[in-house]
């Protein structure tokens, strides 16, 4: 259960730590951050690794219900359903001898494996990570390549 103070920020922190602890990828919550990370990669301050860009598509408020807090006390909570767009992002020079589509496919499979096998360590329920597009998207104006996925789960929010 996650408290209502800084609720969305806490969700993002959990996701961010999950990516950092289980992969070599960089998490980002906004394309501004993706750009800043690639600026630092370009200056040699960071290793060139894939970026996982999370974008909130929707949050849906579920039913209110009594739940136990961390001290075992009964408190009121509410299920909140999250739907994130997830973009796995690489640039042209990351493992530059290999096909961009092959690498992005590998990154996506790796993420799916991690969410399937380690997802229980997150304070989320019914975590589902799935692909939404069969093909990678073309090179964008910043020279980046991406594939799109979707991450769905629900959490109990303490009211």
């Amino acid at each position: 259960m996650i408290s209502k103070e800084n609720f969305i920020q806490d969700i993002k922190t959990e996701l961010s730590n999950f990516i950092i602890n289980n992969t070599d990828y960089y998490p980002a919550f906004g394309y501004d951050k993706v750009r800043r990370l690639y600026s630092r990669i370009g200056r040699g301050e960071l290793a060139n690794q894939p970026i996982i860009h999370f974008s909130v598509l929707s949050t849906t408020q579920g039913t209110r219900q009594p739940v136990g807090d961390e001290n075992g006390e009964k408190v009121e909570g509410r299920k909140v359903y999250f739907d994130f767009g997830v973009y796995t992002v690489i640039n042209a020079s990351y493992r530059d001898t290999q096909d961009r589509g092959f690498i992005l496919d590998e990154v996506g499979d790796n993420l799916k494996n991690i969410f399937d096998s380690q997802g229980d360590s997150l304070p989320f329920n019914q975590v589902k990570f799935s692909s939404t597009l069969d093909e990678l998207m073309g090179e964008n104006s910043d020279g980046l390549y991406a594939s799109e996925y979707e991450l769905e789960f629900w959490v109990m929010k303490e009211l």
Binding site: Y31, R35, T60, T132, M137, N140, S141, L144
Partner: protein, 165 residues
């Protein structure tokens, strides 16, 4: 002399007939709830706008696209769901943040930028050469995606269930 005709089930028929409008209203609310919570039209719109960020070669695209994402609005109405772009917000940011590639056309100040993104336009840039922007029909794509998922029979389900029982 009086002739009395007794129709079997007449009272039930009358009660159910009187209840038809309430059942249709219930079906309508279920349908709107389905559009809002199951289909989540605004989430589909945002996904198409996200794809523009990663699938578009024009420079300066992102700042505008981010504004598009922020402008997506969704609200339930009496008879459905309305998903639209907040024109006032887009006009305000259009005035506030001119961008090199597209924002320096004086004629494009204070305009509904979402329309230009959807339909395409030519920016008469006063600094650089003019920019032709192809249309990105994100609303049309959203509509085409959600249309097969919309089941209007949901509206009739409470009514049909009432008649079956």
């Amino acid at each position: 002399m009086t002739v009395r005709i007794k129709i079997e089930g007449m009272n039930e028929l009358t009660a159910k007939s009187n209840n038809m409008i309430a059942q249709i209203e219930s079906g309508k609310r279920r349908f709107i709830n389905f559009l809002t919570h199951s289909i989540q039209i605004d989430a589909v719109v945002i996904r198409y706008i996200n794809r523009m960020i990663y699938d578009t070669p024009e420079p300066e695209w992102y700042e505008r696209t981010q504004n598009l994402k922020r402008a997506v609005m969704s609200e339930e109405t009496e008879n459905g769901v309305r998903v639209y772009m907040n024109k006032g917000y887009l006009q305000a940011v259009s005035n506030r943040y001119p961008t090199k590639a597209t924002g320096l056309d004086p004629q494009k100040k204070g305009v509904d930028y979402s329309w230009y993104v959807h339909e395409g336009t030519q920016f008469n840039n006063i600094y650089q050469k003019d920019v032709v922007m192809e249309g990105r029909p994100f609303m049309q794509q959203t509509w085409e995606e959600i249309l097969p998922r919309i089941d209007p029979l949901i509206i009739l389900q409470p009514l049909l269930r009432m008649w079956r029982t």
